[in-house]
Symmetry: C2
Subunit: 588 residues, 2 copies
């Protein structure tokens, strides 16, 4: 047996015991007469003491040990003279009597400390060393706990975890598939699943009733920051349910996770329609940790900006304001910063109008020459702006302006400290449009996927061709402005499904070719069903209070889809290519 205890469990009550510990040398301090070593393992850090007086030889040996050496020591647990109450083991130390060097270590390329000196690239290359650092290790442990608690909740709700296949079939619709050449079926390819969507629907046809899986999915997209070619979903589907049942079930999951993982009692999750989210936040995933709702100043029924000869506002499709509480004292420099912010190409506003509500209630705006005090007071009233508040206004084409205002709102939220990563605000966004029009391709696409059911009350609109107005029984779960999950009630009626395919421009042959096996399955008695999927990496990073998902994945890839640690992908040899019946084109 290598050890009697871990480095995280000894306490004052253990004083006097003889123990054997194993771990890595975190750091050592040579104080002349005494040498102290912090021994680290996954569970904690325990201080080792070597005394020059009582065992000079052992102490000399200890002094020569390098950082990250792997050690096995035996000795007696003793109460420390100078205690460290920051850590649970900080009241004791081990008076070492035996020391075995289990393995030596080269000096690591960066420090194994909470705040390391290693840059991102180096940390990715030596990921196995980065994982030794407590913050990264804790992320991995958090992820484990999240998975455990997800399973605990869903198991208790009679969900069955079913593994769906990884080697499936490519579908041209949607994002790009990763494919796998089949040696046994020359010229043919498997695809890796972008999601188990069709399989989970088949499981409902199969009568499994409630399915879940924490499952790897794959998408061959150009990687933006913080996207991974392989990612993990909590994938769920239920039979004989309506939207309300799904919302309640998964609100329950989210509450359970907050309670069991973070110790937070979450109130019931508020709901907002997609239409409201767009109108009041300019986003289908509003960050509801703070209000600062949009106020439309040029409503048809109550236009507060037109007819005052200010062309920018008169000609704008949308004039929209937010109220930044207590910001009336913003300096010219700060206002210029905000103007620069909204004018950045990725945001694309042409300018920023402001109005300050002064201490005395008077209002000063950047468009004073067009609007008198009375007009400005109406703005302030509409925005709920009071003394010391700052009104920020953007104008232009509706969609673009909403998006820009969304960015500005988030920026103001950040500046005002309203986006604390330890505060969590959940929101259901409901009633998404069923279809989305692509100007480029001059046709409608499914916003969610082709199996999403329209709202029953909107089916008539669908049949009448009022496609843009049809709402779907689709829902997203948003936490702190991040879409962490989404799903829909599925179509289970074959006539309605046929109508959908027709609208989406599929010929009968194409529909049969791509979704034939699912369509066929639906002929044999499909139950009403609905589902949802959560981005597990994202959910973990959110719970961990981090922006990036990368540190919640044990071995992530970089933005070129490379694992720089193993240096993959890589070339394969000619024999392998021949067996697979493929060749690599010469790279011009």
């Amino acid at each position: 047996m290598y050890r009697t205890n871990t480095c995280g469990e000894l306490r004052l009550a253990d004083a006097g015991k003889r123990v054997t510990l194993c771990g890595w040398l975190q750091k050592s301090r040579d104080l002349g007469g005494m040498t102290f070593i912090d021994l680290r393992d996954r569970y904690g850090i325990t201080q080792l003491a070597f005394n020059m007086e009582t065992d000079a030889q052992l102490c000399e040996k200890a002094r020569k040990l390098g950082r990250e050496f792997v050690l096995q020591i035996s000795g007696i647990v003793k109460e420390r003279e100078s205690k460290n109450l920051q850590i649970p083991t900080g009241e004791v130390e081990i008076i070492v009597e035996e020391l075995v060097i289990l393995n030596e270590a080269k000096t690591p390329p960066f420090t194994i400390e909470d705040n390391t000196d290693g840059g991102d690239d180096l940390r990715m290359k030596y990921r196995y060393l980065d994982l030794r650092r407590a913050p990264v290790r804790n992320n991995i442990l958090l992820r484990h706990k999240m998975a455990q608690q997800t399973r605990a909740y869903l198991d208790a709700q009679y969900f069955t975890e079913v593994e769906t296949p990884v080697l499936i079939k490519s579908t041209p619709e949607g994002a790009r598939d990763f494919v796998v050449p089949s040696r046994m079926n020359p010229g043919q390819f498997y695809a890796l699943p972008q999601s188990p969507q069709t399989f989970k629907q088949l499981l409902m046809v199969a009568g499994l009733d409630r399915y879940y899986q924490i499952v790897k999915c794959f998408r061959d997209e150009d990687l933006r920051a913080d996207r991974q070619p392989e990612f993990t979903q909590i994938d769920c589907e239920m039979s004989f349910v309506e939207q309300e049942d799904v919302l309640n079930m998964f609100e329950g999951l989210v509450k359970h996770l907050f309670q069991s993982v973070k110790g937070i009692e979450m109130e019931s999750v508020p709901r907002m329609t997609y239409a409201d989210a767009m109108e009041f936040y300019g986003s289908d995933k509003p960050d509801t940790r703070f209000e600062m709702r949009f106020v439309t100043l040029n409503k048809a029924e109550n236009n507060l900006v037109s007819g005052k000869s200010f062309k920018v506002f008169d000609e704008a499709e949308l004039v929209v304001a937010i109220c930044a509480k207590g910001c009336a004292n913003y300096t010219r420099k700060q206002l210029d910063e905000l103007t620069d912010f909204v004018k950045r190409p990725q945001i694309g506003a042409t300018g920023l109008v402001y109005a300050r509500v002064n201490e005395d209630g008077s209002i000063k705006s950047s468009v004073d020459k067009f609007y008198d005090e009375e007009s400005l007071k109406k703005w302030a009233q509409a925005c709920g702006a009071e003394a010391n508040d700052l009104i920020l206004i953007l104008a232009g084409a509706a969609n673009k302006t909403r998006k820009a205002m969304n960015e500005l709102r988030l920026e103001m939220g950040t500046r005002l400290g309203l986006r604390n990563k330890d505060t969590f605000s959940c929101l259901w966004v409901l009633d998404f449009p069923l279809l989305e029009y692509s100007e480029e391709e001059n046709r409608f696409f499914a916003m969610h996927h082709p199996f999403t059911a329209p709202k029953p009350e909107d089916v008539e609109l669908l049949k009448n061709g009022q496609l843009a107005s049809v709402r779907a029984n689709a829902y997203d779960l948003v936490i702190n402005g991040v879409e962490v999950g989404g799903g829909s009630v599925r179509i289970f009626n074959k006539e309605l499904q046929a109508t959908m395919f027709e609208i989406l421009g599929f010929s009968k042959e194409e529909a049969q070719n791509q979704f034939g096996f699912l369509m066929n399955a639906f002929e044999f008695g499909a139950p009403p069903h609905a589902g949802i999927a959560f981005g597990f990496d994202r959910l973990c990073s959110l719970f961990g209070g981090a922006e990036s998902i990368r540190d919640f994945i044990a071995f992530p890839k970089n933005n070129s889809g490379r694992d720089v640690m193993i240096d993959g992908p890589s070339a394969i040899d000619e024999k392998q290519l021949n067996e697979l019946n493929i060749s690599v084109k010469s790279i011009g």
Copy 2:
């Protein structure tokens, strides 16, 4: 809300309640005045009653429903007149008042009954219908429970579940990889993992201490019956442990699974060396549900067969016997069958010698003309054969004869009813040879993998070049003659690892090229570590008492690696190939 209850939960105590159920029409019986329907969902079957007298219209509607129609009914729970005590819901029925056809169903291509009339191919094509049958559904539910309980045990033992990547790097050693062309890295390929071996070792270097994962693995091999290109492992690794720790930990897992899933209290798992397994059972995975151990009749120190002018035995490298209890009365026909059995090409024995111990203790053998009663009695004694027992003897080259006798022993076990699928016998097989000599390639290969540690007491043999004699700290868990898991203590010392690579014929460059990232990681302080992996599909089928793993996989592939339900793999279009920078060779 679609339903108030499932089809599996109503009992006599619910009589009088108004309920709403959903499910599939399992079968209907029209008795003139009454029509009965069995409504099925995942949870059970509930009988519906329609009365012609009280509601003729509803009853008429019910009569027209086809098998597998999806129904929603409301009605009153009532005590049944003729109870079916075989099923938990069999004391009640629902007097239906409302009936909604949620979906119609075409007549399924095979019956949805415990014993179906559907052949394998049809059942695979309509897998979603096969999954509706209770035996197949129960396998999937068993699998879920096995995964749950595996996690429960390992979580309690401080193992951390870590997801390792699916898109990794191809290694030419070992079985054939499935590969994935990388669009972003033209000419390069990811490989799908055959196991997370290197990653789990890196997690030990990273200090994770205890890792597990229930994980999909991939192997592009020609599929024998009951092998799947994608399969699932329970993959585990531990740090600061010796072999004994691993055996105890996973003996605990197996006991926990038997206890929690099957309600069987398993005794501690016996251990056998590889050498003994080969000598006494002719197999490294002996079925220990029954004894019938091999007895060598031509031992050098006690040769019971030589010098009696029977050339076959005199010239044989091995003469080996088993004793079939109570089989002395086997007829000539039965003995001929056994002879034919061992002479089949896949077994390859040249003949079978027998000796019967008669009621009166006299012995009659097929080689009476060479061996007198006294010789035969010595055989009987060596074999522990008593009155009415049958001794069966094979002779020839040692390895081949052992293998043949293994098959004969299993056949006799089956004939004697000693291989009950509800009896479970576990065994650790230990001390495997470290290396295996390939006559074909004229070199040694790692029996397990190149990171397996030799037994410390055999390291000298390794260094002296006595390679065939070196035993490994490797272990297999065998249940009922099936290898369900295997693992080893790993090498964590870089000099020893270098020696191993040298012996295995890797140049330094090759070793660096293939395992460089692991070797490099080991330079930064690798802890002693060891691990094991279990074939999860196989373990589930064993617990389910089935021979085939296929019915424990929701969506299995056939022997050509095809999913006949989705009809994949399939051709992909030219655009996709171009993006991936590959082309398909014309198929001659």
